[in-house]
Amino acid sequence: MSQNNSLFNYILKIADNQLILGHRLSEQSSKGPFLEEDIACSNIALDLIGAANSLYIYAASIQGENKTEDDLVFLRSERDYKNVLLVEQPNTDFAFLMLRQFLFDTYDFYFQQALLNSKDETLAAIAAKTLKESTYHLRHSGNWMIRLGDGTTESAMRLKNAMNQLWCFIDELFEQDETEIALVAQGIAVDSNAIKAQFDNHVASIMQNAGMDIPTNIFMQKGGKQGVHTEHLGFLLAEMQYVHRSFPGVKW
């Protein structure tokens, strides 16, 4: 794989995570448990989609051929999307969606922090902006973990259920393939292994405050980074892409 191809695919992996999680959160707009939280979630969804957009613009510029960010978002199909399985899981209750945020936010905070040191200047610049946002995303979802874990019997039970459902997607966050390892060696990509301990520590400390146990002996699911997704992603893309695809090549 050429250098440009590796970089292109790496950027898409980062962008797809941000977009798909932002999309899931944007589905909740106007459905929040109270108005202030609705505003917070819409705002975070917008941050995620905005960060994805900057990355797609960069990826499109590497791809050339007059491609745009919209081509990458609206014209790739299920197998081309390389987001992790965690972010595509459909919204069920608030505990589930906020835990999904928290797990991703924790990963993303340390990921963006490490990406600041990338030798690729554009990636480092995008990371600098994204990190500011990731910092308050993490504070927001972390506070909710404690509120829900410590709040009522019901909220603790719901959070525990969510843990049992989502924990199986954790290992995939840190999975690296050969091209990614090569980019790490060049100082471009983040070495996910190096941020795993930070992730584990932060999650453990918040969950301890929340009075939550971290599940053990859970079989870890993977596949998103190879484009082998859960069945949920196809429906998400169908909804997201249908207007754009119904009118090929027009301006919006």
Binding site: L35, G151, T152, F247
Partner: protein, 317 residues
């Protein structure tokens, strides 16, 4: 008894003197009970409109046809939630709680703008809503920046800034569609056809049938009548329709030199009252969706309160 009555007369006199000097009424000032009631009704209705208005537009966030449009729409829906928040706070300053206002909304005791009881069927509806619905709302809101109640007036100043951005983005969506392929142009015209008349209805009944208007103008809550604002909206919008090559769906539209404005056809008032009374295409689904998210959020609010109570207890101990 007599001295009390005198006091009340004196208070009314002071209140009216302030209005006459165009001074703002502030939350701690004395105000007639009817003034308070009128404003609580109007501000909460306005807040509810922002909140219910998130639904028809939120409906298209996941389907917006480009990244730019998606981000702008998401930001717009978020702005509306923010407007709801300022307005609930302004109403709270008159002594009603948010819970009480929500209860009134959920039980149908409080109204919201009927425009949001129409469905958003195509992407072009996002253009039509921004352009026409926000455009009509701005006519009202610009006037309300000079309303006599301080917190309401200040909320309006901020809201107007964002609304004019909303209107521009709506018109831009329509401009691009109207200049696009025949299918896109048709989508734009269809959206205009469906949203034109409901937008004119947003200004409310004709002046002679608007029972609260006279009092609201006397108290400087409103400064112009429904019909004046509606006429101004038509005058402003017709040239915008023509500029992008669409057709106003009203065969009676005609420039009238004598009144320096457009004549326009009769609004279907039966439809207006049908929707106001709860029988529009989406009245029931909008409220049902609002109640559903409120009920589904109950355990979240309880958890947050329970946690906060534990923290406070620990601090006190």
């Amino acid at each position: 008894m007599n001295s009390l009555k005198l006091d009340e007369n004196q208070l009314i006199e002071n209140f009216e003197a302030k209005l006459a000097k165009n001074e703002m009424i502030e939350p701690k000032d004395w105000m007639p009970e009817q003034y308070r009631k009128h404003l609580i009704r109007q501000i909460s209705q306005h807040a509810h409109s922002e909140i219910i208005g998130m639904q028809p537009e939120g409906n298209w966030i996941t389907r917006a046809p480009s990244m730019r449009r998606k981000m702008v729409l998401l930001a717009k829906v978020q702005d509306e939630a923010g407007h709801g928040l300022y307005l609930y706070s302004a109403a709270e300053s008159m002594g009603i709680s948010r819970e009480e206002m929500l209860y009134q909304l959920h039980t149908g005791a409080a109204k919201y703008s009927s425009i949001f009881n129409y469905p958003t069927l195509t992407w072009a509806d996002m253009g039509a809503i921004g352009w026409l619905v926000d455009g009509a709302a701005i006519m009202n809101q610009v006037m309300l920046q000079r309303t006599s109640y301080g917190p309401y007036s200040r909320a309006m100043v901020r809201i107007c800034k964002e609304e004019s951005f909303h209107q521009r983005q709506g018109y831009e969506i329509m401009t691009v569609l109207a200049a696009g392929t025949p299918a896109q142009k048709e989508m734009a015209q269809d959206a205009l056809n469906r949203w034109w008349w409901p937008s004119l209805m947003m200004f409310g009944p004709r002046d002679e049938e608007s029972p609260n208007s006279a009092q609201a103008i006397k108290w400087k809550i409103k400064r112009e009548t429904n019909d004046q604002l509606r006429q101004r909206f038509v005058n402003q919008t017709v040239p915008q329709v023509e500029k992008i090559g669409l057709i106003v769906p009203d065969k009676d539209i005609k420039w009238n030199d004598a009144k320096n404005g457009y004549d326009f056809g009769e609004i279907n008032w039966d439809e207006f009252w049908t929707v106001v009374k709860g029988n529009g295409p989406c009245n029931k689904t909008r409220i049902a969706a609002k109640i559903k998210s409120h009920e589904e959020g109950a355990w979240v609010r309880e958890a947050a309160n329970a946690h906060a109570a534990k923290i406070n207890k620990n601090k006190a101990a």
